[in-house]
Amino acid sequence: MKLLRELLFPVIAVLVAFIVGGIIVWMIGDNPFQVYGLLLGSALTWPDGIGYTLFYATPLIFTGLAVAVAFRCGLLNIGAEGQLYLAAFATAWVSIKLGGTVVKDFSGASVGYGWASLPAVVLVPLAVLTAVAVGAAWGAIPGWLKARFGAHEVITTIMLNFIAIALVSYFTQYYFKGPGDPIMQTVPIGEAAHIPRLGDFVPGLPSRIPLNLAFLLAILACALVYVLLWRTKWGYEIRATGANPSAAEYGGINVRRQIVVAMAISGGLAGMVAVSEVLGYRYRYYDGFSASYGFTGIAVALLGRNHPVGVFLAALLFGMLTRGAIFVDAFSAHVTKDLVEVLQAIVILFVAAEALFRGPFGRFGLLKRSKI
């Protein structure tokens, strides 16, 4: 019954968003049923639809978890975007320097970018650790600014997003671009740093689909976040801080430390996006690679009620929408893939304005605010 109650509200929010989106589609001049058929139908085919849906869901699971952990501590991390950008660049940097990247220049001469060529068993864990560590460090900054100076984390994370993106664009442009490369991207990472694609193991799933090991790490991350938040003292202190900082302080919890710790964990989770994108898909850092994963993470966390299971399900939904959007773009007369962003925004608005639903439905005891 409790589970049903938790599920009911997000499901209503999604349905309402689809209805509003359908009206918009109809006003633009397309058939909503046909558009939704394309949107959802193309995401459920095997192997391409499902493979790509899970691939698109992977970064959203990480950013959704990132936002959820911060949320449980009473913080809104709008900075996942900056954290994952910096982490992605750092991961690429480690995988270039220690992966022994060699690139040919115009004259055909080889240019070495690396210091060493480490074997995969060392390099991959090192690259993953870099992703987590750099994301965590960048996430800890707004936590520290809040704990030490009371600077609001929403504003500082927005500002740090722009700073992170400018920094990595600087390093990419001046130090890591291949000779004469017109695209803002680094040279490729060493091959030892590539992580396997699931297509290499799963029968029937072709390796051209970029779904990779990071998806399994994302599932693992969901489990770890659950254990952390609900089965450890640390997690209890984080949730207590989020529920009522004054009471937590009175109860002997170091609230300031919890804020920094929660933001660091949040940033580390956001940094994991680098594993899927850099080590498992593009094999380099690519300027502007993130399709607003950090911001979509906010929608994923809200829709998932800041619970790992909810985050996983919400990420799958948004992964489906991302996959289906490409087909809507190609096969519908007027509607473009931008419909997905509109749907996302409407979902967030309805989830945020929860009181809207609590009015009529709350009387029947169906929707109660979730406890910590």
């Binding site: 709008i78 504003i155 500082t156 722009f162 600087y170 509607v335 419909l339 967030i348 009181a355």
Partner: protein, 296 residues
């Protein structure tokens, strides 16, 4: 290339032009935030204004129709934010984020449907552009806002509602009406700021053309400590850094290219520094972000 070639009159006029959209959005944000409603939706509101201005100017053949439409569109979208935050007590930051995402999608969706393009409007002829009017409006609004905020009953009530809504309510001021008015005003002003981007500085709407200016405006508002004149100076400073960044593009000093990225991040770094209280304390209106519920 030496420094005198960079610091010339052209730099200052371009700084003023670049500060204009920031100033319009920041003054809008000031009304909203002074009433106690966080407005990180400025970015989306500007996009709404920019798209509406460009498409209506193109349809009607008059920039004034476009400008008016931008004001209305900005206010209408801000209305969604207002209803969510005031009527349904939604988290104001979350609602603002939703508006920002909504407005990356809606203009692209509509331009795809109506102009069969991927996110931009048709080119507007030169004689239908208004490169000067919004600049004048923006800088005239500064003394006007100052006067309204500090010397009119409306301004007093606005500040009271943002600082202490319970007391304002007890004194007979409707917190709800004040906040709705303020948020709608912020949408209207940000809408003009957006219109300037599409039918003032350029001649069409392109996807995400505000490019973070809504957030820089927010930064200027905080840097200016939620006060009109200081906010204007902050906007000019940020406009100036942007102008320098543009001038430095591709410029070489002794064979070395100057990275513009470090100039671009100045506004963001300064805002963090001010927020953390390293140089002067920037204090937000006391009830900022807290929904008000009248006692039953």
């Amino acid at each position: 290339m030496d420094l005198t070639e960079i610091f010339n009159l052209g730099l200052f006029t371009s700084a003023v032009r670049l500060a204009t959209p920031l100033l319009l959005a920041a003054l809008g944000g000031m009304f909203s935030e002074r009433s106690g409603v966080i407005n990180i939706a400025l970015e989306g509101l500007m996009l709404a204004g920019a798209f509406t201005a460009a498409s209506m100017t193109w349809y009607a053949g008059s920039p004034w129709v476009g400008l008016l439409a931008a004001v209305l569109a900005g206010a209408a979208i801000a209305g969604i934010h207002a209803v969510a935050c005031i009527r349904y007590r939604a988290d104001q930051v979350v609602s603002g984020t939703a508006i920002n995402i909504l407005l990356t999608g809606v203009p692209a969706l509509l331009s795809g449907a109506f102009f069969l393009s991927s996110g931009s409007t048709p080119q507007i002829p030169r004689e239908h552009l208004i490169p000067l009017t919004p600049v004048v409006i923006a800088f005239l609004l500064v003394p006007l806002t100052y006067y309204v905020l500090y010397y009119t009953p409306f301004g007093l009530r606005l500040r009271a509602v943002g600082e202490n809504p319970e007391a304002a309510d007890a004194a007979g001021v409707s917190v709800r009406v004040m906040r709705y008015t303020a948020v709608l005003l912020s949408g209207a002003l940000a809408g003009i700021g957006g219109a300037y981007l599409s039918i003032g500085q350029s001649s069409l709407f392109t996807r995400n053309m505000s490019a973070g200016r809504g957030f820089i405006a927010l930064a200027a508002l905080i840097f200016g400590k939620w006060r009109p004149v200081q906010t204007m100076l902050a906007c000019l400073l940020f406009g100036f850094t942007e102008a320098i960044a543009i001038q430095l593009q591709g410029v070489r000093f002794g064979g070395e290219e100057i990275p513009t990225q470090f100039v671009q991040i100045i506004p963001y770094v300064l805002t963090i520094v001010v927020l953390a209280g390293f140089i002067g304390q920037s204090r937000a209106p006391r009830s900022l972000g807290i929904p008000y519920q009248k006692e039953k």
